[in-house]
Symmetry: D2
Subunit: 141 residues, 4 copies
């Protein structure tokens, strides 16, 4: 069971003096997905290196690391609302979606044997979709 936690992302976005050009629901969903995916991928990379045969997980470790880095940056860029440059935001979210989809595909190969890869595949898949929805959401400004 996944834990239910309380985060202040939404409150902070509402307290910000500026609004974003993106659909708020899509933005919040993407933010939450990236936040979850960043930590999940850090953990999966680390767990892979502690498995009995990390050699066969080299590609998984690599994609986990790239995906964690891109999700982390996407969270930071989405949390900012001051003078957003939509082309920067869109390119970041797109790079993140590509990394999440690649990482999901690789983790799925190992999900039957390793629970951390099974969870990570699911989280990455969800994050790729949330990034895709934000990317295709009509900007309101």
């Amino acid at each position: 069971m996944a834990q239910a936690t309380t985060h202040h992302g939404q409150q902070m976005l509402q307290a910000h003096p500026q609004r974003s050009a993106f659909d708020e629901r899509a933005l919040l969903d993407c933010l939450e997905a990236c936040l979850d995916c960043a930590q999940t991928c850090v953990s999966c990379a680390d767990a892979c290196s502690a498995e009995a045969d990390p050699k066969m997980l080299a590609k998984c470790i690599r994609l986990n690391n790239d995906c964690a880095d891109l999700c982390g940056v996407t969270v930071r860029i989405l949390m900012r609302r001051t003078a957003s440059d939509p082309s920067v935001v869109r390119a970041t979210v797109e790079a993140c979606a590509i990394a999440c989809a690649a990482c999901a595909a690789e983790c799925e190969h190992h999900g039957e044997h390793m629970e951390h890869c099974r969870i990570c595949a699911e989280v990455c898949r969800g994050c790729a979709e949330a990034c895709g929805r934000l990317g295709s959401a009509k900007a309101t400004a």
Copy 2:
């Protein structure tokens, strides 16, 4: 009202082939607090720069940025369980606690006038405490 979200941090830590030397409850609390605080501080720094008089918020912006960076790294280091070096973990958590306490103190000065600083002060204070509890928790290994 803060949002309730579902994160996979705890599930991932349980799926990891290794256990940590730290008390699990204190570790999870610290992890959640740092995750929340990292995004909150990124947002507060950005919101401060969009206020009518950002000049008087320069110290707040600076501490928000340092705190966001340290919380982000602390999340990554706490999510890893493979061959943890307790002295590295402790020093990181301690640096994070110091940054959170400094940022909380500064944000409290502005909390009456700016909602993002009020929330951020609260989140930073809670994170400083969670880091403190993890730091003082007796390592079980």
Copy 3:
């Protein structure tokens, strides 16, 4: 005068058991440019907030922060050579190029009055170009 320093990026890439799919010269140039640009943008954002009128620099601070984050991630992804996914690398480098170009354009508006913006504009412009050259370099694999 810019400082001449000694970094081990090239040595490390040569010591790596795997080769990359990218042109080595373009990759190293991009890596160096991103490393330089990441720290330059962190500094410019911070310097802007300490100026007499940071209000007029809000867009500059925002773009500096986004650019610093993307350059930092690009360095990390380019330093990795294990099982590289070219689509992830390309999308990251492209997002970085877009952020660098946007940040350069904004810093150029302030370069006459602030030396840190003048330098930062130059560094960002060079980094956008290095990212562009890597993006258009024919992958050898």
Copy 4:
């Protein structure tokens, strides 16, 4: 042979409207060392996972990752000069020194067999020393 490159860290620090409380020479040396060490450790972790037997390098990968993260944050915090909180800076530099020393010690075990670990051990050792010198430098303010 390590490459000689041109970075703008020193120029940017000089263009900043504020001075730091730390000895400038010690600060610049530490900054350069951390910048180099961050990328070196990202590379070493990645190279280790591509070796024939990554299982025996699990501790090395872990320490490389922690060290890369802490060096990266230390660069960002040292590049900022606005309203520096000396206790935050010191605690960060100290955590970084501890991670660098631990990573150097582990990489030294593998340096005879792997060139990337040999270089990384040397870079980490130098960074631990540069952090130590900054930590013990008398603050001028």
